[in-house]
């Protein structure tokens, strides 16, 4: 437009030119005045004279006008691009209502921040595919005992599967064992992984240096001593040297040639990770009763899980028919990710994601409510602007820009929060949750959260335009100026109800997990952890033979017991909470079942004299082990209380009774003692049926020394224990001494991690609910100022007004709570597997939640209502 160009160039036109224009303008004015005066009947001469006189001193006026026209803003205002003006306007609108902008911005920040953080963590830890090629094709194949319990697989069974399965393209097997690295460097315990030659290739994993095993090196029963180093061991013992290939390592006295270095990421397969990988050399002639392998398979192209399962089951049926040791055993499969992560972890992941979604939804509902409340107030403004000639598209555009600004602000703050929160979350769960360290802000979830926020704010931000029609506007300002906002009110009530409902669902979930965690923290693991330390020992076959280990263990115990500060010392084959367990089958000797399948599966441990005393496990009947238990009169065993009660009715009844170990031809065990129940595998699972066997009879290689210290003993005891072990067995790996308290603490890490996240969520959710309910109620109360004023001036009691308002709001909250409870009742079923000794219908939790939401709503209503009713009615009326 020409005029605009002129405006923009105004300062450049030069003073003379501007003055000429102003003069022209004045002349035009005078001419128009003359015209009017002449029209009204005045003589043209007289008219001109009068017009000139009225106009006054032209040169002064010209100076003033030019000066005014060159004032501030002359150089930009007219030339700013439209969108920039809109953004500036939107910024002004938000600045003008800082309370609204702050609450809406913070709400979005909390909602988006929490949602993005949690989804990022859960995706990395739980949902992301394994770091293998085409992970969806990978299956974990497992053996089932005759009783239907999952079990490891034997070497011959793995070889059968590899040979006979038609629906898979490849089958691999692996296992891990604790051994001792003797050189290079100081001896230390390592986990040595065993894998068949094709495993890495099947997973699509390549060594980062060197090569994988060849089939020739994996020869049955006689592996070539070659090894792949894990990344950490390579760094630690070889300084990350690139020319490590060709070096040798000494594992328990055997030399292995290093042929390469493993990439990172295999830890997920081996649970806690491995230090070294050597060929498995599975032997078809091995004992079929020796179960220790994990088996993984890749589905053949086009095959389905169901086809592989029936294929596997028919091979297992053939094995059961063909081999005595496999009689009654069968097989099962699971997708590899589920097998490695566990159903409970995956479910926990989904629960957390659902909670995150709920929180984001609550934040959006909250912001929607705020925007709707504001819309009512702004209808008047919009109406006024429309009457003043602003067209609908302009208003829509401006509101759109304002919404975008708000959404953008909230999203930016939310993403900022997520980047700050993620390192905290990582620290919270560090060590116990695999791959947590890798968690970073997940772009997909960040994008999704932004889109949800933008949609919400965009949709409800335009609410002031709803029902704003030209016709309505034409009738004047008054009709729109005090808009009743009835439509918005209805929607607002729906949103308030939804918010209350969402709060209930979130709080119920959190409440249940909190109660569960409290129970878990108070659970009696059966043993005492205070002033107890544990030392893991490995006495490998290659270094110590079967006969040597018993005396060696005795010597270690004797020397450890002499360390100042140590009261009692004993040892066990199961390192507490290492996740490692031993299982077998027993039967009462006097009631031997006919079929091996009917033997009872049990957990068992090898322990030394002193173990029960050191752990603080009470002996309920009989005695613990002593040095004389060498098994002349049947093999002496101690059983757990659970087994004694299940088999014989009571602890005392169990004494001197006999069990048969493993199968019909198994050894006979005589019960000499009954010990109290123990939880040392997982804190949330009791090892109900337990058999303890004596190390003197069964000199197990991997043992954990447990020492009870004098109360408040000096930490220097730890180094004394290490010295004692070293002097008793010079070649043994130098053991680390751990506090059992720390071990127990770590066992609680995962449930605590879940709980802390949920608790943080619940706090944010509760804050959102309170802010939302309070804000809306305060707004509605202010809107009913006039009504309150009138009714109070008519003599209504302020207390009745307050109770009326509270009652109306509580009814709404009541509906919300009812809906919320129904939803929570349905949703809490999903929490079942995550809960420990707490029912999803736990009455305490439900009552607490209902009370919390109810009281919150009541207070959020009561405060602004009181505040309104306390105002002088005259003031209320005049303000209106």
């Amino acid at each position: 437009m020409k005029g605009r160009w002129r405006d923009r160039l105004h300062p450049l036109l030069g003073r003379a030119r501007v003055e000429r224009e102003v003069d022209d303008e004045f002349a035009a004015h005078i001419e128009h005045r003359v015209d009017d005066l002449v029209e009204s009947g005045m003589d043209p001469e007289a008219a001109r004279a009068r017009a000139e006189r009225e106009f006054g001193n032209r040169s002064r006026l010209r100076r003033d006008t030019v000066k005014a026209g060159s004032g501030d803003g002359a150089s930009g205002a007219g030339g700013r691009a439209g969108w920039f003006r809109d953004v500036a306007w939107a910024g002004r609108q938000l600045r003008r209502s800082p309370g609204f902008a702050a609450v809406a911005g913070l709400t979005l920040m909390l909602g988006i921040g929490a949602a993005v953080t949690i989804v990022s963590v859960v995706r990395t830890v739980v949902l992301d595919p394994l770091p293998f090629e085409a992970p969806e094709e990978l299956l974990a194949l497992g053996t089932l005992t005759p009783a239907g319990d999952p079990f490891s697989t034997s070497e011959p069974a793995f070889l059968d599967w590899r040979e006979r399965l038609r629906t898979v393209s490849d089958v691999g097997a692996y296992a891990g064992r604790t051994e001792t690295l003797r050189a290079p460097g100081d001896p230390r315990g390592i986990v040595r992984g065993y894998a068949n030659a094709g495993l890495l290739e099947m997973l699509g994993v390549e060594p980062s240096i060197g090569r994988a095993f060849t089939a020739a090196e994996d020869r049955p029963g006689d592996p070539v001593p070659v090894a792949l180093l894990a990344h950490d061991l390579w760094q630690e013992r070889f300084g990350g040297a690139a020319d490590v290939v060709g070096s040798t390592v000494d594992v328990d006295g055997r030399l292995f040639e290093v042929i390469g270095v493993l990439p990172e990421g295999l830890d997920v397969l081996f649970g806690g990770g491995i230090d070294l990988l050597t060929p498995l050399a599975a032997d078809p002639g091995m004992d079929r009763g020796e179960h220790y392998l994990d088996v993984v398979a890749r589905m053949a192209p086009g095959a389905t899980e169901t086809e592989v399962l029936s294929d596997l089951q028919s091979v297992a049926a053939w094995q059961s028919d063909t081999f005595e040791e496999d009689r009654g055993w069968s097989a099962e499969l699971e997708p590899l990710d589920r097998a490695l992560l566990g159903e409970a972890t995956i479910r926990a992941g989904w629960v957390l994601i659902a909670a995150a979604g709920l929180l984001l939804a609550m934040a959006c509902v909250n912001v929607s409510n705020l925007l709707l409340a504001r819309a009512t107030a702004r209808k008047g403004e919009m109406g006024l602007r429309a009457v003043l000639g602003a067209d609908r598209t302009t208003l829509l555009r401006q509101l759109g820009v304002e919404s975008a600004l708000l959404a953008g602000l909230g999203t930016a703050l939310g993403l900022l929060l997520a980047t700050v929160a993620l390192p905290l979350v990582r620290r919270l769960g560090a060590g116990r949750l695999p791959r947590l360290e890798e968690a970073g802000v997940d772009p997909a979830s960040a994008l999704a959260a932004c889109v949800v926020a933008a949609l919400t704010v965009g949709l409800f931000g335009l609410a002031p335009m709803v029902g704003l029609r030209r016709e309505a506007l034409a009738s004047g300002l008054r009709s729109v100026g005090r808009g009743s906002g009835a439509g918005g009110g209805g929607l607002r009530r729906v949103l308030v109800t939804a918010q209350v409902a969402a709060s209930v669902v979130l709080l119920v979930g959190t409440g249940l997990l909190s109660r569960s965690f409290a129970k878990l923290s108070n659970v009696d693991p059966g043993f005492d952890t205070v002033d107890r330390v544990a030392v893991a020992l490995a006495m490998p076959d290659a270094a110590y033979d079967w006969q040597e280990r018993g005396p060696l263990m005795q010597e270690i115990l004797r020397r450890s017991g002499e360390v100042p500060g140590v009261e009692v010392v004993g040892a066990t084959s199961v390192d507490p909470f290492s996740g490692y367990a031993l299982a077998n089958f027993v039967a009462r000797r006097d009631r031997m079942p006919e079929r091996a399948a009917d033997f009872t599966p049990i957990h068992w441990r090898v322990v030394t004299p002193g173990f029960f005393e050191a752990m603080g496990l009470e002996i309920r009947a009989g005695r613990g082990f002593d040095q004389g238990d060498l098994g002349d009169d049947g093999v002496p065993v101690v059983v757990g209380e659970g087994l004694a009660e299940r088999f014989f009715g009571s602890a005392s009844e169990a004494l001197d009774r006999e069990l048969v170990w493993g199968d019909h031809d198994g050894s006979v065990l005589r019960i000499v003692g009954v010990a109290e129940r123990l939880r040392d595998v997982r804190i949330d699972e009791e090892s109900e049926l337990m058999v303890y066997r004596a190390h003197a009879m069964l000199p197990w290689a991997s043992m954990t020394l447990v020492a009870r210290l004098r109360p408040g003993a000096d930490p220097a005891v730890a180094s004394g224990l290490r010295e004692a072990v070293r002097s008793a067995a010079p070649g043994l790996a130098v053991p680390e001494v751990r506090l059992l308290e720390t071990t127990l603490d770590r066992a609680l890490a995962e449930p605590r991690f879940n709980l802390l996240l949920m608790a943080a969520f619940a706090l944010v959710g509760l804050a959102l609910a309170v802010v939302g309910l309070y804000g809306l109620t305060a707004f509605e109360v202010r809107r009913s100022f006039r009504e309150i004023g009138i009714r109070m001036s008519l003599g209504a009691e302020s207390s009745s007004l307050v109770s009326g308002l509270v009652a109306r709001r509580m009814m709404l909250a009541g509906i919300g709570m009812t809906i919320g409870m129904a939803l929570a009742g349905y949703a809490s079923r999903w929490l079942d597997t995550l809960l420990f000794e707490v029912s999803p219908r736990d009455p305490l939790t439900w009552i607490a939640v209902i009370a919390t939401v109810g009281v919150t709503t009541a207070v959020a209503t009561w405060i602004p209502a009181r505040w309104a009713a306390a105002v002088d009615p005259r003031q209320v009326l005049s303000a209106e």
Partner: protein, 113 residues
């Protein structure tokens, strides 16, 4: 009825208001204010033209030469979007101002002494 002189600053908002119906030239603006106020408000040329140029400098109006209804060449002013917003703001301020003044003066004597 006595005519009132305009308070400083009030003129701007009145000028903006006269432009809501479309473009007007200076003389027309002065006339419109007079008419809209039922002849109560009288605009001085000495204030009108500096005001118009000030508004243009702020970007609230823009101007263009054109032909008036009497076929005279004149400079026409029209509202910009910023001008519309400014009007909303100014009108709101005016409401608060006038209500406040009205409250203060509510009980002042109105009849001649």
């Amino acid at each position: 009825m006595t005519r009132l002189e305009l308070l400083q600053g009030t003129l701007d908002v009145l000028v903006l208001r006269t432009l809501t119906g479309g473009a007007r030239h200076g003389y027309d603006i002065a006339r419109a204010i007079k008419q809209l106020s039922d002849d109560v408000l009288q605009v001085e040329e000495g204030a009108l033209y500096p005001a118009l140029h000030r508004l243009r400098a702020r970007g609230w109006v823009e101007s263009e030469w054109g032909r008036s209804e009497k076929n005279r060449r004149a400079k026409f002013y029209q509202l910009t979007e910023a001008g519309r917003e400014a009007l909303v703001d100014e009108a709101r301020n005016w409401d608060r101002y006038s209500e406040a003044v009205a409250r203060v003066l509510a009980d002042a004597p109105r009849e001649g002494a």
